[in-house]
Amino acid sequence: MIRYRGAWTVGTRVVLVLVLLAVALVPAFFSTYFTGAVALKVLWLGLAAASLTFLSGQGGMVSLAQTALFGVGGYITARLMVFEAMSPWLAALIGVGAATAAGLVVGSIASGSRVIYFLMITLAFAVVAYLFFSQVSTFGGHTGINGVFAPAPLDNPTLKPTAVYYVCLACCVVAYLLLRYVGRTPFGLALQAVRDEPARANALGFDVRLHRTLAFALAAAIAGVAGVLATWQTTRISPGTIDVTRTIELLVVAVIGGLYRLEGAWLGAFVYVLLDTYLRGLSGRFETWIGIAFVAIVLLSPGGLAGLLARIDEEVRRPERKRRRRRRRRRAPRLGSALRRTG
């Protein structure tokens, strides 16, 4: 069996299963309020952040468009359910499809640009999407769309959050495994090559823009799913859900968690939602504190909390690491062999 970099060791597997078990038991041990208002939000916010973490970690694209794509998914679903009385599942499917399509369009435009331009173009798209949804009356204008009730067991997220919680959890687990899997397919490895050396990958015959665009569309689909889940949990969607503040909030979540590790997305969401729920009341200037924390993380630990944990983990397992590295050195360089496999 070939071991890829980042494949799980037995220890990591045990930890992941324990974490999943703990997360799965939240509805049984915590209050309805905590499950409905805190844990559920952690799940969908983490899912949205994971789409950004995937893009930045695998593709080197820090996108500010994820909130807007999240909004496209949520808005289309809400509109089809409320105004067209469509079946919620079909509406959700179309909503996610619309988010993916929007992702393809934005991705194909932005994929020609490097890091900084990419950041700016996606921010421009985010603001335009916000203004569009707040001005166009078919989407409810400034009030948005209210009364978006999910199908039967999920329709009362405030009083009976358990069912919604497990649906959300299942989506998160599937998305996590899918994004991890994609990162190890030939496509994912080529995407990393495109991230690290676009000119060289291009010379080897990889279509740089196509790889970036497809990755962007995949992340858009994930963001769209998060948008649908968030709309079902809050039973409404309004322009306030996707404005610049929310766009920056999602970036803050991803950066606090760590822009280069998928697990970081949920870790960041967990920390952010806890602070948001329990600390906002204590200090009138919550945003200032979040801003200070954000700057501190960017200055001190660019890998975020997940990067910090990984560093601690590495310290703990150092002897084992050294042995493995020695073994690895004898094999051909990993990226080169990956390129040969796909090419």
Binding site: I109, I116, A124, F132, Q135, V244, L251
Partner: protein
């Protein structure tokens, strides 16, 4: 900005060009999208001209309205240009994307409002606001950006964090209800244009003139002075300029001061024409981004052209889009961006990476 990096950049450009030679589809795609873009722009211009002058040039037609809309677009373009010129100056020299630029704009507006309310004449207040915001920008550059030069993404993230803090602190310290700065005495009313008997607010004309003057001064500063020569040398090859005895750090600091001060100036202009309120920071950050993406990052002429395009398209679209579609005028801004990027990925005057 080391020589190695410059070499890598040139290598990337060569590889890209090579790819477009070996891949005939890329060149064809570029040509097709360019022709389509030009056709779309022509159609839009013809449509506007038809709506404006379709009923003749007399004052009974739509010509007077067209002139007013164009002037509105020009004055808006003036505001966009003053803001974006600072943004593009900082980027062109230091490759720093200052995401706190919108916050600097709003800070300038609040400081200017404070001075004017204390009885300082408007023209003095605008200079003072520029100096205050420039000083704030200088401190931020020295503390947060000086030591991680070249790490573009990290610097952008730092300035995003700073803009969160600045935005929240401004809500805390200034009155968050929308206000306007009273214009200078003598520019409060309207003047007659002598055309179709139109009266137009004189301060808006002053904004157009002010933006043109600032643009001219910046151009002279960059093209005709020793400081400008040093700045251009720093842009082209920072390591070489440094080796020739130029204190590049001093030039960076001066440029950051100037760029921030321009945002502060723009804030006072904008606070007089539009309003001073939370949310304007995001609006002007966005407009600066769009202007420099269209015009090309780091280019003064690009900022002017981008500002003109954005201001005119915004104003014309809100009037001349077909009945029932005016709500969609915001999408047109994005379409403008798409069209320009499809034809020139680095903006109209942008240099390839």
């Amino acid at each position: 900005m080391s020589g190695a990096r410059g070499g890598a950049r040139a290598g990337g450009a060569v590889a890209t060009r090579l790819a477009s030679l070996t891949n005939p589809r890329a060149g064809l795609r570029q040509q097709v999208s360019a022709s389509l873009a030009i056709a779309a722009a022509l159609a839009a211009v013809l449509w506007v001209l038809y709506k404006a002058f379709g009923e003749g040039l007399g004052s009974s037609g739509n010509a007077p309205q067209f002139i007013v809309v164009c002037l509105n677009g020009l004055s808006l373009a003036g505001l966009y240009f003053i803001t974006a010129s600072g943004f593009t100056l900082i980027f062109g020299l230091m490759r720093v994307v200052n995401m706190a630029h919108g916050s600097f704009y709003l800070l300038g507006a609040y400081v200017g409002l404070g001075f004017v309310e204390d009885g300082v004449p408007w023209l003095v207040a605008v200079v003072l606001a520029g100096l205050v915001v420039g000083a704030v920008g200088l401190v931020i550059q020295q503390v947060f950006l000086r030591w991680n030069q070249g790490q573009e993404l990290r610097q952008a993230l730092i300035t995003i964090g700073l803009s969160i803090i600045l935005g929240d602190q401004m809500v805390a310290h200034f009155d968050p209800t929308p206000q306007t700065i009273p214009p200078p005495s003598g520019l409060t009313g309207s003047v007659s244009l002598g055309l179709y008997g139109i009266d137009y607010p004189s301060f808006r004309l002053f904004v157009i003139g002010g933006a043109a003057l600032i643009g001219l001064l910046l151009w002279l500063l960059i093209q005709r002075t020793r400081f400008g020569i040093v700045v251009r040398a720093g842009v082209d090859n920072g390591a070489m300029a440094s080796a020739l005895g130029v204190n590049v750090q001093l030039v960076f600091a001066a440029a950051f001061f100037l760029g921030s001060a321009l945002a502060g100036l723009a804030g006072v202009f904008g606070g007089t024409v539009l309003s001073v309120a939370p949310g304007q920071d995001d609006k002007f950050l966005l407009s600066s981004l769009i202007v420099v993406i269209i015009g090309g990052m780091g280019s003064l002429a690009g900022a002017a052209l981008g500002a003109l395009a954005l201001g005119l398209v915004e104003q014309l679209a809100s009037v001349y889009l077909p009945e029932g579609y005016t709500n969609y005028s915001i999408l047109l801004t994005f379409i403008l961006l798409i069209v320009v990027l499809a034809v020139r990925p680095t903006g109209i005057f942008g240099r390839p990476e």
